[in-house]
C-alpha cells in the first residue's frame, strides 16, 4: 500500500464517524418533528395548518446551503450561539422535518375517508380512530418515501462541509489539500472515489429496502 494511504484513511475514518453521527441525529430529529408537524397538517383548524404550512414551505423551499449558512453565521448575530455540529444538525433537521411532514400529511390524507367515517360511525373517538385505523394504514404508505428521505438526508450531511464541519467530505478535502500543498500527486481520484463508494455502500441497501417495502406494502 502506498505511503500516503495510511494517514489519509485514518483521518477520513474520523470524518466518517462524524458523518454517521450527524446523519443519525438529523434523521431522528427530522422523523420525530416531521411526524408531529405532518399530523398537525391534517387537523381541521385553519390557523394550525397555515403556521405549519409556512414552516414546511420555507425549509423545503430554501436550498440547504442557505439554511446552513444562515444558522451558522446569522444566528450568532441575533445572539444565539451554536457550535458547528449543532448548526449542521439543526439545518438538516429543519429541511428533513419539513419533508417528513409532507410525506406524513400525504400518507394520512391518502387513507380513504370511508375508513375514518366508518370508524366514526362505529363510535370510535378521534384519538382511537387515528391510532387504530388511520395511522397503521398511513404508516404503510409513508414508509417507502420515508426510507428514501433517510437515504437523502444521509447524503445531505456532506453539505455540512461548507460550514467547516469535519465530516467525511471535509476530511477527504483536507487530506487532498495537504497532499497538494506537499507538492506531490493530489490523489484526488482515489480519495474522492473512496468517499463516493462509502456513501454508496451505506445508501444502496436502504434504497433497496425502500423499493422492497414499496412492493410489499402496496
Amino acid at each position: 500500500m502506498p505511503l500516503w494511504v495510511g494517514p489519509v484513511a485514518s483521518y477520513v475514518a474520523q470524518g466518517l464517524w462524524t458523518t454517521l453521527l450527524l446523519a443519525l441525529v438529523s434523521i431522528v430529529a427530522s422523523v420525530l418533528l416531521g411526524t408531529v408537524l405532518g399530523t398537525l397538517l391534517t387537523l381541521p383548524q385553519l390557523w394550525v395548518r397555515a403556521v405549519v404550512r409556512a414552516y414546511v414551505e420555507i425549509w423545503r423551499g430554501l436550498p440547504i446551503i442557505i439554511t446552513l449558512f444562515f444558522i451558522f453565521f446569522v444566528l450568532p448575530v441575533l445572539g444565539i450561539e451554536v457550535d458547528t455540529f449543532l448548526a449542521a444538525a439543526i439545518g438538516l433537521a429543519l429541511w428533513g422535518s419539513a419533508n417528513v411532514a409532507e410525506v406524513v400529511r400525504g400518507a394520512v390524507q391518502s387513507v380513504p375517508r370511508g375508513q375514518s367515517e366508518a370508524a366514526a360511525a362505529l363510535g370510535f373517538p378521534w384519538q382511537r380512530r387515528m391510532r387504530h385505523v388511520i395511522l397503521p394504514q398511513a404508516t404503510r404508505r409513508a414508509l417507502p418515501p420515508l426510507v428514501g428521505l433517510v437515504v437523502n438526508l444521509t447524503q445531505q450531511t456532506s453539505l455540512a462541509a461548507v460550514i467547516g464541519l469535519l465530516d467525511v467530505l471535509e476530511a477527504s478535502q483536507r487530506s487532498i489539500e495537504r497532499l497538494t500543498l506537499a507538492g506531490g500527486e493530489t490523489h484526488a481520484v482515489p480519495i474522492l472515489g473512496a468517499v463516493l463508494v462509502v456513501f454508496f455502500v451505506i445508501c444502496l441497501p436502504l434504497t433497496i429496502l425502500s423499493r422492497r417495502l414499496e412492493r410489499v406494502l402496496q
Binding site: 494517514p7 453565521f73 450561539e81 467547516g164 478535502q173 483536507r174 500543498l181 493530489t186
Partner: protein, 298 residues
C-alpha cells in the same frame, strides 16, 4: 428487564470512565504558570480557559494540517506560546480552521476571539475589526507554470486569474485591474489544482505562500513585482480593547525574547527562505509598523 438495565448502567459507567480516563492522562503533563505580559487577560478568555484562535489550514508553512491531522505551522506555534502566557499551558488553545473569506465573520460571531490567519492589514478591514501590533509582513505576487510567458502584472490584462476569496491579492486585483476575470476559490489546493489544469494563466496570492508552493512544485515559478505589501496583524473584535491590549503586550514579550524568530526557524527549514523574510519578523531592534493611508497602490 433488570439485566438490560444493568447492562445499560455498566455501559454508561464504562463510557464515563473512558472519558474521565483521557482527562487524567492530560493532567499527567506538568502545568506551567501563566506569564504576566504587562496587561491583564480579558475576563471572557479567562472564563473559557483557553484561547480561541482562527488559523489557516491551507497555508504552509504558516498554518496547515500535518500528516497526523494536527494543526501545524508558524502561526500555530505562536498560538501555543500565547496560550502558555495566558494559562501556563501551551495546549490551552482551541484552533479553528478559517479561510480568507470567513475569518472575519467567525470573529464577529464569537466563534473565535482572535484571528491569526495570514491577514494583511488594510484600512478597509480595519473598519470592521481591530488589528493588533504586526507580527509579519508580505505582499502579493503571481504563481505561474514554469514555462509561462507571464512576467509581470500587466501580462494579466484581460485574462483569467485565480485568487482566493477575501484575500489581499483579490482585493488588489479588484481595485487595480478590474479587467482581469478572477476565478475565486476557497482553498489553496483548489487554486493550485486549477492552475495545474490550466483553468487560468496565474494564481495571485501572498508571496510567502507562493514561494513555499513553488519550492515544492518545480513545474511552477513565482513572478511579478510585489504589490499590496503590508504587515500582517492579528485581529480582534472592534472595541475589544482588553483582548487587544493583552495580545499587543504578549506580542511585545515574544519579540523581546526573540521567540518569533525561533518559531519561524522551526517552521521554515530552508536557510535561504529564512534570510529572505528575516527583516519582517519582529525581533529585538526590528520593529514593524503599519503604513498610513491605503495599502492598495495601483
Amino acid at each position: 428487564m433488570k439485566a438490560k438495565l444493568g447492562m445499560i448502567v455498566a455501559a454508561a459507567a464504562l463510557l464515563l470512565a473512558a472519558c474521565g480516563g483521557t482527562d487524567a492522562a492530560d493532567q499527567g503533563k506538568p502545568a506551567g504558570k501563566p506569564v504576566d505580559v504587562g496587561a491583564p487577560l480579558p475576563a471572557n478568555v479567562q472564563q473559557k480557559g483557553k484561547l480561541a484562535v482562527g488559523v489557516k489550514c491551507d497555508y504552509p508553512p504558516f498554518g496547515y494540517i500535518d500528516e497526523a491531522g494536527e494543526n501545524a505551522g508558524f502561526e500555530i506555534d505562536v498560538a501555543h506560546r500565547l496560550a502558555a502566557y495566558a494559562f501556563g499551558d501551551p495546549g490551552a488553545v482551541e484552533l479553528t480552521c478559517v479561510t480568507g473569506s470567513n475569518r472575519v465573520p467567525f470573529l464577529t460571531t464569537n466563534r473565535i476571539d482572535l484571528i491569526m490567519a495570514t491577514m494583511n492589514y488594510t484600512p478597509e478591514r480595519a473598519e470592521t475589526i481591530d488589528f493588533t501590533s504586526p507580527y509579519f509582513a508580505g505582499g502579493v505576487k503571481m504563481l505561474v507554470p514554469a514555462d509561462s510567458s507571464v512576467r509581470g502584472w500587466d501580462d494579466l490584462s484581460g485574462k483569467q486569474v485565480i485568487t482566493i476569496k477575501g484575500s489581499t491579492a483579490s482585493l488588489w486585483l479588484t481595485q487595480c485591474m478590474p479587467d482581469v476575470e478572477q476565478v475565486q476559490f476557497e482553498q489553496t489546493s483548489e487554486a493550485v489544482t486549477a492552475l495545474a489544469q490550466d483553468r487560468a494563466v496565474a494564481f495571485a496570492q501572498d508571496d510567502t505562500l507562493l514561494v513555499d508552493l513553488a519550492s515544492k512544485n518545480k513545474a511552477t515559478k513565482v513572478v511579478g513585482e510585489v504589490r499590496a505589501d503590508s504587515p500582517w496583524g492579528m485581529g480582534v473584535r472592534k472595541g475589544d480593547t482588553a483582548t487587544k491590549a493583552w495580545v499587543d503586550a504578549a506580542i511585545k514579550k515574544l519579540q523581546d525574547e526573540d521567540l518569533f524568530w525561533k518559531a519561524f526557524q522551526e517552521s521554515v527549514s530552508d536557510k535561504a527562505t529564512q534570510q529572505q523574510f528575516e527583516k519582517v519578523i519582529p525581533r529585538p531592534g526590528n520593529e514593524l509598523s503599519y503604513p498610513t493611508g491605503s495599502i492598495i497602490e495601483c
